[in-house]
Each structure stands twice: as C-alpha cells, then as structure tokens.
C-alpha cells in the first residue's frame, strides 16, 4: 500500500483512531510519519491523549454555553470544581495531560477520575498489596465494590444498556472469584 501523503513510498505506519465506534485511519511511509510528527501534524487527527482518555474534549464543550449537549456530560460541579487542598481544576487536569495535583484531587474530581480509570484500567478496584501494617481491609473494599457494581448492573439493565451491562456483569463475576479465592492480599493469582 502506498503512503497516503506522498503517494510514492510504501506505507509502513498505520494511524488508526476509533472514536464513538467510528474508525478513521491513515497510512504513512516512515519518512512522512516522521515529518508529520515533527510538525505536530499528527495532532491534527484530533489525537490528544488526555482528551481521549478523559473525555475532556467534551468537558471543554460542556463549559461553553449554547453548544450542543454532548452524549457524555460531566456534571457542572465537577467541571467547575477547585480542589480545596491544592487548588487544581479540571482545566489544569486537561492541560497537564491528565495529571492530578494531590491525593485529595481523587475525591474532588471523582467522576472525572472514575471515567478515566474505567477507560484505561482493567478493573475499578485495587486488588494488589496494601501499605505494610495497614491490616487486612482489602476484602472490605472488594465487598463495597461488589455492592456498587450490583447496583450499577440493575441500573444499566433498567436503561436497557445491555452492552455496558455485560461488562459490569463480567466485572462482578471476576470480583466474586477473587473474593472466594480469599484474594486482595496480592496472592490472588489462583484462577
């Protein structure tokens, strides 16, 4: 396949973007890809990691009055929240490629962080080691997460969002397996 840019060299780099289920792709030769990268033109494909991961593109739009309602809206109180501990804002979160200001930010921007975490992580609850001397509280956290997921499942089924419900159902099953295996202390590799 020839490079979409120079239409001369063999394309070796495929850049593919999937957003809202729609996929766009462009084939480039190594030389054109390098040039485009240097000139920052790959960004012209609309690829900003923080925005993709955290849906902040939509956040920005949500902040502008009069624009069309996005399908995933971040609550206004989060979009305008300021961390009481460090003064971080959702906008700074976006500018700094998805970095937070302090541990407290996880609470301040909880809906934002949770959305991001769900997109990039394999689960929503920590199953690894705990601070030494912290005691065995892992199972408690897992039970709380299990209850939350069960509520979420009911809600999704009620709204007839079956695809999302299937994901949640799998998470519940995985969590139950972990709990049965007595996991949460980093020893949960039994299947």
């Amino acid at each position: 396949m020839l490079c979409d840019n120079c239409k001369h060299n063999e394309a070796t780099v495929l850049i593919k973007e999937i957003r809202n289920g729609k996929s766009t792709s462009i084939n480039l030769c190594a030389e054109c890809a390098r040039l485009k990268e240097q000139q920052g033109e790959l960004g012209a494909l609309g690829f900003n990691l923080a925005e993709v991961l955290f849906d902040l593109g939509k956040l920005t739009k949500a902040l502008k009055p009069g624009t069309r309602k996005p399908d995933f809206e971040i609550p206004r109180e989060v979009a305008e929240a300021v961390c009481p501990k460090c003064g971080w804002t959702a906008e700074k979160f976006r500018q700094h490629a998805g970095q937070l200001g302090c541990p407290e930010c996880y609470r301040t921007f909880a809906p934002l962080v949770e959305g991001a975490v769900a997109r990039i992580q394999r689960g929503l609850v920590h199953l690894g080691k705990r601070p030494s001397g912290g005691g065995a509280g892992g199972a408690v956290a897992m039970r709380l997460e299990l209850e939350r997921l069960q509520r979420e499942l009911k809600e999704l089924i009620k709204r007839e969002e079956y695809e999302a419900a299937a994901v949640t159902r799998d998470r519940i099953a995985a969590l139950k397996r972990e709990l049965d295996a007595g996991g949460a202390d980093g020893e949960g590799e039994t299947r």
Partner: protein, 353 residues
C-alpha cells in the same frame, strides 16, 4: 547536602549487566517500578520548590536506615548539582527518567552501588522505587521492589485509598502504582517483518510495546520494551504473570524465527552478523544509529554461539558505553556529534575482540 559524583557509578558494572542473567540472550533486562506518594503532601509537580526540598530533606534523613538502598553506602545524587551530561548518564543507565531530568529543583536520586535498586524522589510522584535486573527476572525484581516498598512504607505513610489503592499523580498509575517491563532484543521478528503484527497482538492484551530508541516509528537496535498498561484491577502478581506470559511468547516466537532463518537462509543470516562485526571492528566513524544496528547483529551472533571470545555482558557494556553522555564522560569533555562518532568507533574497535 553533598551529592555523590557520577564517576562513582562507573566503579561497578551497571545494574543490567551480568554474564549470569537467566534468559539473557533475548530478554536483556527486567524492571519493576513502584510509584508512591506520602499522605498529606501535594504531588511534586503541584508542590512549590520549598515543599519539594522539605520532602527531599525527609528522605535524606531516612536514607541511612534504608537497607535496600545499601544504607550509608547508597550513592545520592542531587540533580541540581549535576551538569546536563551527568544527568544524561543517569538516563542512559536507566536510573533517571526524562521527567526527572527536566525538573532538577528539589529532587533527589539514591542508588544502591550495584544499581539494581534505586529511588527517584520528586519525579512525577514523590517516590519512585525501581528494581532493575539483567535477563528475565520479573518475579525477583518485584519481590525486591516490594520489600523495599515495605521498608520505605515504615518511614512514610502513603496516600492510599481503600478502593483505588495507591494514589498517584497520574491516574494511569493508580492502584498498584506498578509498571513492570522487560527489554527484548527481537531482530528475527524485525527481519521477517513479523514485528508489527506481534506488537498489535500484544497491545490487545493491554500490554504496551515500545521501541527503545526514537519516539514511535523508527526503532534502532531491534530493542523493544514490553510493559503492563493497566495498574488497577489486578494484583501485582497477576499483572506480572500476564506480562511474563506475553514475554515468553515473544521470546519463543523470536527463537523459532531465528531457527527458521538459519535453516532457510543461513548465508543471509551469517552475512548480517559478519558485516555487523566488520563494521564495528574496522570503522573510524560510527553514528549511534549504525552502531546500535550493528551491535544488534553481533548480539545475534553471540546468541548463536558464533563468537568464541564475546559474551552478552560485553555487548551490553559496549551498548551503554557508546551512548552519547557516556562517551563524553569517558573523554572528560563535551564532544560534538562528529567527535562522538570518532570516539564511538574507537571504543568499538578496542572492545570487540
């Protein structure tokens, strides 16, 4: 605070160098990094220089107690006291990151003299534990990182959430805070054009593959770093088992490919290796790019037991020694690119016997 001198690192071989590395021909090195932050403090990027310095002071006071860093024998670097070449040396030895070098104010790096355990203070997270091992030793690196983590956790109370685990500046690290990685030498997969499909397949498993040199497209030296992408929702051991399984598959595929290449096209294979050796042995000007490419070829020959007097440790040593900052450190002065190419060629001629 008096910092250590970079030269002290050169007394011992670097952390990834060893002749007795398990699986050390295709898997070059293994690394486990843990991100931690003390409770009640702002993340380093958000903290003021004064706050960062205050925390560096707390870590410095605790250092003599930290056995995993070698206690009093730990090499402690204050990046503000280092020049740019020294900082680049740390990067080339995998002890510091670009992010760390970009903000030297109120930061600290402590390294055990064998370089297998180190601690970056005030990188993106306040504490970044690193364990580096030669060859394929993910479990060993994790065990040691975890033990060091326990030791450090007895000094600092970590920011930890019951549900989200260890809280990190970047939510992509939250939970275990662990990034485990293995560096693989995959010339067979590259030569036969299988690498793109292998990378794509691995990515689907939530495992990241990056070329070691050059951002994105071009990879030099056929070196690939394979690491976990997700840090939450699995225990550290599960993550490492998953990563280990992917690494084993890549290693197996590389081995099979090499065998196949030797069976089907022995002369082309030997030609690549022989020419690589010839260039390294007889050049008087060597760019980084050409040197890494040829080292990959010679390394392949070493793996196939074609060189009696060369071993993987020697290749690894040359690999590091010919990187730009190491060359300049060795010369004792700044060198421009053309001068580096001459020094690089001289080093290779001298050390390939």
């Amino acid at each position: 605070m008096m910092g250590a001198k970079i030269e002290e690192l050169f007394r011992n071989p670097a952390g990834i160098l060893s002749s007795e590395a398990p699986g050390g021909d295709i898997a070059v090195s293994s690394r486990v990094r843990l991100a931690r932050n003390p409770e009640g403090r702002l993340f380093p990027r958000r903290a003021s220089d004064d706050e960062r310095r205050e925390f560096v002071g707390e870590v410095t006071a605790a250092l003599p107690e930290l056995k995993h860093l070698g206690g009093a024998s730990a090499l402690v670097f204050d990046p503000e006291q280092l020049d740019s070449i020294d900082r680049e040396v740390l990067l080339e030895r995998y002890l510091a990151s670009r992010e760390f070098n970009a903000r030297p104010e109120g930061a600290l790096l402590a390294v055990r003299p064998d370089e297998r355990v180190s601690l970056m203070v005030n990188e993106d997270d306040a504490l970044r534990i690193q364990c580096l091992r030669p060859g394929l030793q993910l479990d060993e690196a994790w065990e040691e990182a975890s033990a060091f983590d326990d030791e450090l956790g007895s000094v600092f109370k970590y920011a930890f959430d019951e549900r989200l685990g260890f809280l990190t500046a970047d939510p992509t690290n939250v939970g275990t805070g662990m990034r485990a990685s293995v560096m693989l030498h995959l010339p067979g997969l590259v030569l036969t054009g299988q690498i793109a499909s292998a990378v794509a397949a691995v990515n689907k498993l939530n495992i990241a593959v990056r070329g070691l040199y050059g951002e994105g497209s071009e990879n030099l030296g056929n070196m690939y770093q394979v690491s976990n992408q997700s840090t939450l929702g699995e225990s550290e051991k599960q993550i490492i088992a998953r990563l280990g399984a992917v690494v084993s598959q890549l290693v197996e595929r590389e081995e099979n490919t090499r065998k196949l290449l030797m069976e089907r096209d022995q002369h082309s294979m030997l030609d690549v290796i022989g020419r690589s050796y010839g260039v390294l042995k007889h050049s008087h000007r060597l760019s980084s790019e050409e040197a890494l490419k040829c080292l990959s070829g010679v390394r392949l020959g070493v793996d196939m037991r074609l060189f009696k007097s060369l071993d993987v440790e020697r290749i690894n040593t040359i690999f590091m020694a010919i990187s730009p900052a190491h060359l300049q450190k060795r010369a004792g002065k700044e060198l421009d690119q053309s001068e580096r190419d001459v020094c690089r060629a001289a080093f290779c001629r001298e050390h390939l016997n």
